[in-house]
Symmetry: C2
Subunit: 309 residues, 2 copies
DNA sequence: CTGAAAGCGCTTACAG
DNA sequence: CTGAAAGCGCTTACAG
């Protein structure tokens, strides 16, 4: 029976057929716990989402998009998804325990912070891990530097003189890289950088914009490291009586749905969010089921020009 | 060893201690597959999210909030979460198979559509299932009718004469109940209903608002069955030159983050989204680990008054 | 090609 | 209180 269920080639056709009929009649479904006990595989992947509460709880669709992509790709490959959103230290310990217990074949780590004790622990234990955001282990990232540079070049190319940026948190790889991209492009254009730092939230974008307006009132363009902050900045600009894009041009990053609905609609850098999820799965499965090679991926970004710049 | 690990009372203190030391030294972690093979329990719950793609893919934070609540409650109870977002029929078949294989102790079903073949199949197989939204099996819902009525009463109480509604899709329990609440309150106030139907998305809200403006230009208030549609309606009203709240008062439903950031900020009915997730878990665990009783829950809603009405 | 047997890592009556 | 044994439901060498 086992050989029929697992599609071994060496089974007489008639035997196979009668077994299959019995399986169908009885509605037999193999017990996965028993199977994984002997095969040492679980066909299950853990997705660990960790981020500061204020971003996780917010309505930013980044995490939802990644989950969706992971889920899609896993379903297509007949694997299962265990989702974990650890709250604090005890949460992380539970995951460590769970993973150590052999309940998953690998871990997908989507964390906003740069350092991550859980990651190090898992790697040390020999658990296959793939990160979102470049790291010194298998990862999936997007071209943050290129995207940010493209945004700045668009701004400079359309005649803007004083281009500021609202950067993301600098303990976050994307936050760092998008600022790097901004600085690189500014240097190349022989401009001086004007930088404020936010937390990737609407409120922080609003505050950062106000500060920029105080510190560098002559600015005529702002590149925001994500769309949520751009939405906040838009509000601060309106409150200050600056017209967008007439007085100040604004570019975001991410291309979340909301970017199409601001007034004016947001020019932004497109990041393929669901693709990140799909690629995370592919890189992990190459590690566990494939040739075991690290084939990290960097996905392209592109600028979509709407009304704000 | 097993008795120590599982905290049986009948173990000599010294024996217990030496086993515990060994466990700690060796970093022993019990194999859950082996355990669940004999106990027939997995300490794992499946959360099945099914919704039409246009809502699921959107940046609406409802699903993310429910996931968060489920995840929190499960972590607190040392249970695990497998997340499934079936795409089409094959996706549902995979879940059915997975659940039948005994990989989970129960299923949380968050589906927007009223009828659900998967639900019926699982129930027939004897799998413990809890739904979000009232149903003829254990469920967690919010007081949609009461919330909608409160919104209408607020509008009527503040002197609005012609109160319309943009209802949600009528194949959705929340969509139906929020419309019922609107109609009930209107009847009680001896007003005539003015109804347009949307799909819970921004675009559908915008279109519905345009239609209302055509059909009933005299309206001076609109109750939207969710915030996303209210955001779309806000846009349509602005495009039509109607001021909010001066010309038209607007009330939403959900109290998503974005409701605080519209201009004017949205008056809306608060729905405790993360609580829905937490309660789903509690109701399910009462079914499986508790006394087996169906203790469905209806969570309260409340009106939060901001600027739009 | 196929049957019988061992074993995956646990839990839990069963004796003592 | 505790040891030895059976058994959960599978897979996979091992013989034949």
């Amino acid at each position: 029976v086992s050989r029929v269920v697992n599609n071994w080639p060496t089974v007489a056709p008639q035997l196979r057929e009668s077994v299959q009929r019995a399986v169908a009649d009885l509605g037999y479904v193999p017990n996965l716990a028993a199977r994984s006990l002997v095969t040492q595989r679980t066909d299950t992947v853990a997705l660990v989402l960790s981020a500061p509460a204020d971003r996780m709880y917010s309505d930013e669709p980044f995490f939802a998009g990644v989950i969706r992509g992971v889920s899609q790709e896993l379903e297509a490959r007949h694997k299962h998804l265990v989702l974990v959103q650890p709250t604090g230290f005890t949460g992380e310990q539970q995951i460590e325990h769970y993973v150590s217990a052999g309940h998953v074949d690998g871990v997908l780590l989507v964390s906003t912070a740069g350092s991550n004790p859980l990651r190090d622990t898992l790697v040390r234990k020999g658990v296959p891990v793939v990160c979102s955001g470049r790291a010194n282990l298998p990862f999936v990232d997007v071209d943050n530097i290129g995207g940010a540079s493209a945004a700045v070049n668009h701004l400079a190319g359309s005649g803007r003189r004083r281009i500021a940026t609202i950067a993301g948190p600098q303990d976050n790889v994307a936050g760092v890289d998008r600022l790097t991209g901004y600085r690189d492009a500014m240097r190349q254009a022989r401009r001086r950088s004007i930088v404020a730092v936010g937390e990737f939230t609407r409120d922080s974008g609003m505050n950062a914009m106000r500060q920029l307006l105080d510190d560098a009132p002559e600015l005529d363009a702002v590149f925001c490291a994500n769309d949520m902050m751009a939405i906040g900045a838009l509000r601060a600009l309106r409150d200050a009586g600056r017209r967008v894009p007439d007085d100040v041009a604004l570019v975001g990053f991410d291309d979340i749905d909301a970017a199409r609905y601001t007034e004016p609609a947001l020019t932004t850098v497109v990041q393929p969010i669901a693709d990140i999820g799909r690629q995370l799965v592919r890189v992990l499965l190459r590690l566990t089921d494939g040739d075991g090679s690290d084939q990290s991926v960097v996905l392209p970004t592109s600028l979509v020009v709407r009304e704000s710049a």
